[in-house]
Amino acid sequence: MDKKLYTMIVYSENIAGLLNQITAVFTRRQINIESLNVSASSIKGVHKYTITAWTDEDTIKKIVRQIEKKIDVLQAHYFTDEEIFSHEIALYKLSTPVLEREPKVSELIRRYNARVVEVNPTYSALEKDGTTEDITSFYDELQQLGCVLQFVRSGRIALTKSCVERVNEFLAEREARYLRAKQNEAAR
């Protein structure tokens, strides 16, 4: 089967140790995680994981189901690049003397729309957000000019193109069904 870069979005309760359980599903199947971002979601007490991995659709489906099976995981879904808006952020530390000497550097900064966040006589720090490719190609071009002292990039974060937050619906439905079941029980 064709391998692709899949982006998995997982929502879970905010419970210590869950990250381990989620990554273990990948490692058991010998799938490398390309990037991983974990943070609080827009819902209180719910954490959101954005995970990317190269694999085939059959495997990513199985991984999603095995992750969803973890008790404190609320939902897991996978997406291809066409189904999401995704972003990364990167920081670049450049040598200030090279920056001053080499006009191509500031040209690149403008072309790639990077932001200067710090300048001192020794180094300058840039921040750039964008796609994986954009961030990488900016790095490659800077590297050719020999001015990169340090480089770091975040994992991918992503929004789905659908207009509803599925996890909200999921939670509302779960609570409503439980209450209905309780009421039915009481009525009986």
């Binding site: 309760e13 140790g17 381990n20 058991r28 199985k62 095995q66 969803e68 404190d72 779960r174 609570e175």
Partner: protein, 566 residues
């Protein structure tokens, strides 16, 4: 007035267990669980604590208890080595979907992470092999954690839960209130059944000319044995059982065509690759059942009934997945079935059954001369119990022979380590089973290898006078590995011959009545003696040394290409 009462975490654990209806625990005390054992002493008349001889024995006993009764098995152990000794049993319970709650002591929270005495990261170790693993750090979390543990262990697809109980939380006090958990918003124990899937399944079965049903442990776990029978009877479908599903359908049911898998019966295996609709109920297409997936049931439309969505398409791609509790889904599909007769199809199983009977079964159970066979001992014991006993097995040839030659007439009658294949499982699991079903005869078949792996549990048998009927099939070999060495490694018997102790003397040391049988003519009287002796009994059958389990699908082989001799 509030019904709250200020008590310690340890006392709260006792009350929470009682609130869950627990009446039996298997455990072993130690430093980090002492406050709990102190509290347990005062509850010992309600919470019957069985002192095992090794913590692995505690987990297997809890498994045996759970598998025989359908209730949650409970273990109580200390931190560090006490906890790590439970790992094999926890992993076994996970892969065989057995509801077990393991409560382990842990060092106090102020010591956590400092490599304190008998500290081990139990939650970290057990996360991949549990449904849920949780560290109780505060006394006030006890009622919630215990309630959640029992809810998770027993609901949906059952499994093991670990509670890692920090010592400070055992001694701290709080206001206790009984707690029940019946909802976890992130956890869907029983997935919704898509009504289309029910219609499609019924439609496929109604159109089938050659349907074959595969019965798994899910039928027993879902208590759907009656529904299964109605289902197969209405559409007149032959059914084969997995190892763990063997007692979900009586052996003598006219539609029961035998055991599936590597050492299963010839007919259901061959017919798997001839049927036009394959209906799997509560089974997970384990490699020991399917053999080579590339050649498995390729001609058939496949319907999979399961409670766990992660099992669908995991190993075998299916055409229709019927998610839900099989007690409900089987009934729903049965309602839509048109009564059918598959006379010719059913009759086509007979020649294979007959071939296996003549070439494998008869020589195994009625050899007439030569040394005792494993199969004949098993069949004789089974018949002496009128096929009504609970069969517990260890792992290896003894397991396959007893699964094949024991007969099942009642539900929940086979307790064996299927997925993990844990040697040493049998004896402690049988001890556990005797506490779960005191009114039933519990027979455990073991090899000389497996018995010695948890031999210390004879101490538990002795102390509890647990009425375990122990049958040792002694062939002086690690027989299953020896068979593979004979078949696939040029008869190079690398470390499989074993020098055995005198088991009669061992039994005597424990005060357990015993009998050794070398001759066929003595077998029946020895079995009668075993069954008529109150309490435990060890029957050592000295069986053929190089006996083989047959038929066999060689590893990676195809289900319809079984070896009848080797």
């Amino acid at each position: 007035m509030s019904n709250k009462e200020t008590i310690t975490g340890a006392e709260a654990l006792m009350r929470s267990l009682e609130h869950q209806g627990v009446d039996t625990l298997f455990g072993y005390p130690g430093g980090s669980i002492m406050p709990v054992f102190d509290a347990l002493y005062d509850h010992r008349h309600i919470l019957n604590h069985i002192l095992v001889r090794h913590e692995q024995g505690a987990t297997h006993a809890a498994q045996g208890y759970a598998r025989a009764s359908g209730k949650v098995g409970v273990c109580l152990v200390t931190s560090g080595p006490g906890a790590t000794n439970t790992i094999t049993g926890i992993a076994d319970a996970m892969i065989d979907s057995t509801p077990v709650v393991v409560i382990a002591g842990q060092v106090g929270t102020s010591f956590l992470g400092s490599d304190a005495f008998q500290e081990v990261d139990l939650v970290g170790i057990t996360q991949p092999i549990t449904k849920w693993s949780y560290q109780i750090r505060r006394a006030e979390d006890v009622p919630w954690a215990v309630a959640r543990a029992f809810y998770l262990a027993s609901s949906g697809r059952p499994g093991p839960v670990v509670l890692d109980f920090a010592k400070n939380a055992q001694v701290e006090t709080f206001d206790y209130e009984p707690t029940t958990v019946d909802f976890v918003r992130s956890y869907i124990p029983v997935p919704d059944t898509d009504s289309m899937s029910v219609i499609m399944a019924a439609d496929l079965i109604n159109k089938a000319q050659r349907p074959l049903v595969l019965v798994g442990q899910g039928v027993e776990l879902g208590n759907a044995q009656d529904e299964l029978r109605a289902f197969i009877e209405k559409a007149d479908m032959p059914a084969g059982c997995t190892l763990l599903g063997l007692s979900a359908l009586p052996s003598d049911h006219r539609l029961n065509v035998g055991m599936l898998g590597m050492h299963g019966n010839l007919a259901p295996n061959v017919k798997t690759n001839e049927c036009d609709v394959l209906v799997a109920v509560g089974m997970r297409f384990d490699d020991r059942v399917t053999g080579n997936l590339a050649t498995y049931a390729k001609q058939a439309k496949i319907i999979h009934f399961d409670i766990d969505p992660a099992e669908i398409n995991k190993n075998v791609k299916v055409d229709v997945a019927v998610l839900g509790d099989c007690k409900d889904t089987l009934r729903a599909v049965t309602d839509l079935l048109v009564p059918a007769k598959h006379k010719e199809w059913l009759a086509s199983f007979a020649p294979y059954a007959e071939e296996e009977r003549v070439r494998v079964i008869e020589p195994e159970i009625h050899p007439g001369h030569g040394p005792l066979n494993m199969g004949e001992v098993v069949r004789a014991v089974s018949e002496a119990t009128r096929n009504e006993a609970v069969l517990v097995t260890d792992v290896g040839q003894n397991q396959m022979m007893s699964a094949r030659y024991f007969k099942y007439s009642r539900n929940r009658s086979i307790i064996t380590s299927g997925g993990l294949g844990t040697m040493g499982f049998g004896l402690p699991a049988a001890v556990g089973a005797t506490f779960a079903v005191p009114d039933r005869t519990v027979c455990v078949f073991m090899g000389d290898g497996g018995l010695q792996m948890n031999l210390q549990e004879l101490g538990t048998v002795m102390e509890q006078k647990a009425p375990v009927k122990m049958i040792l099939l002694n062939n002086n070999y690690l027989g299953n590995v020896r068979q593979w060495q004979a078949m696939f490694f040029n008869r190079k018997y690398s470390f499989t011959p074993m020098l055995n102790p005198d088991y009669m003397k061992i039994a005597e040391a424990y005060g357990i009545p015993s009998r050794r049988v070398m001759e066929r003519s003595d077998l029946s009287a020895a079995i009668d003696e075993m069954l008529s002796t109150a309490g435990p009994f060890l029957l050592e059958a000295c069986v053929i040394e190089e006996g083989n389990v047959l038929p066999m699908t060689p590893p990676g082989g195809t289900v319809n290409d079984m070896l009848l001799e080797c």
